[in-house]
């Protein structure tokens, strides 16, 4: 009997689409794998798969999640090895199937199996509050809610927090994505404290808006793999926090601004 500790299943969800769930999943998975952890990413967005593309693994897909639950293949056959890190595998979503093709029970069973051999299972949830979302949180030990600093996204995050807790996944954590410190500074974007106060949940991380994300998605290479990107640094910090390390929230003050450079030059900061 294997003596290793069971892995932890974390669902990454949001309610609203387009806030960066898939980017977050890809980067946290890659960052945790870089820390030496064994990671399985699951794309639970049946019919609209994207995690494979963000990871740059779309050409390697043979089997998918539905094939596994329908026992068309063995679990091992469907797990795609990451091309950069041997600790990381991806279980892709089916692209041509309906989200009802998998049940909550099947997801639970699948995650239980994966927990025996992985340190973390990160489940990329579909947007919305329908069956796909319920499947994604089935079997999760923990939930990470991603939001952006917009009224609509925060509203949906609040809705999802309630639903996640109703499903028995307690104390979800929050990631605030795409924050722009320049806008926060001039009072045109809600700040971190505002959102924590409104949602009343713990903050796991703050990720600044970063053009590099577009580039990294273009290439299919998570941004944590490239240096000198604030967003990459932020995701690496979050991965370390998941591992129990005490990493302070990133200082988002724009060090690239002319004023900041000038201050640095004259020794003011």
């Amino acid at each position: 009997m294997d003596q290793r500790e069971q892995g932890k299943a974390i669902v990454i969800t949001s309610g609203k689409g387009g806030v960066g769930k898939t980017t977050t999943t890809a980067n946290l998975g890659t960052a945790l794998a870089l820390l030496g952890k064994k990671i399985c990413l699951i794309d639970a967005d049946i019919g609209l798969r994207n995690l494979d593309v963000v990871m740059g693994l779309e050409n390697r897909i043979v089997y998918d999640l539905i094939d596994v639950v329908e026992e068309q293949c063995r679990l091992e056959q469907a797990l795609i090895k990451d091309k950069r890190n041997e600790n990381l595998v991806l279980l892709p979503a089916a692209q041509t199937r309906d989200k009802d093709a998998v049940s909550e029970e099947q997801m639970k069973e699948l995650i239980l199996k994966l927990k025996e051999r992985m340190d973390y299972i990160l489940v990329d949830s579909p947007a919305g509050i329908e069956q796909g979302f319920r499947n994604a949180i089935a079997g999760a030990d923990k939930a990470i809610i991603v939001t952006t600093p917009e009224v609509s996204a925060v509203r949906d995050a609040d809705r999802i927090i309630g639903m996640v807790e109703a499903e028995g996944v307690n104390d979800p954590d929050l990631i605030i994505n795409r924050i722009r410190q320049d806008m926060v500074d001039r009072g045109d974007m809600m700040n971190i404290e505002d959102m924590i106060e409104i949602l009343a949940i713990d903050i796991l991380g703050v990720v600044p808006e970063d053009e590099g994300i577009v580039v990294s998605t273009n290439k299919g290479e998570p941004i944590v793999l490239s240096n000198n990107h604030k967003a990459g640094e932020a995701f690496n910090n979050i991965a370390r926090r998941l591992e129990g390390e005490d990493v302070p929230l990133m200082d988002l003050n724009n060090s690239d601004s002319i004023l900041a450079k000038f201050k640095k030059f004259v020794g003011l900061s």
Binding site: E150, V154, D158, D188, M190
Partner: protein, 94 residues
């Protein structure tokens, strides 16, 4: 001419101060708090107004209140919702 340039410089700096400081984030926060209250108690603004009117009716059956100063709000206290109402009781004119 000099004054003109000075004015322009002044404009430039005050513009930084004023037009950039639209402060829409506080609007966002206020709206959100209101929206979330409605989401959580599943009460539409209209139903809220109806409830308010009915409550006022009940209260004025028993005490004389200053109708213009009634304040009723649903707010969040820690993780719980609370309805806080304030009915100022009118001092009888003598």
């Amino acid at each position: 001419m000099v004054i003109n340039i000075l004015a322009k410089i002044k404009d430039f700096f005050t513009q930084e101060e004023t037009t950039e400081n639209t402060g829409s984030s506080s609007v966002a926060k206020e709206r959100l708090q209101f929206i979330l209250v409605q989401d959580r108690i599943k009460l539409s603004p209209q139903e809220m107004e109806e409830m308010k009117a009915e409550l006022i009716e009940v209260i004025i059956k028993y005490v004389e209140v200053d109708k213009d100063k009634i304040d009723m709000d649903i707010s969040r206290e820690d993780e719980k919702m609370a309805m806080v109402a304030n009915f100022p009781i009118q001092k009888k004119q003598e």
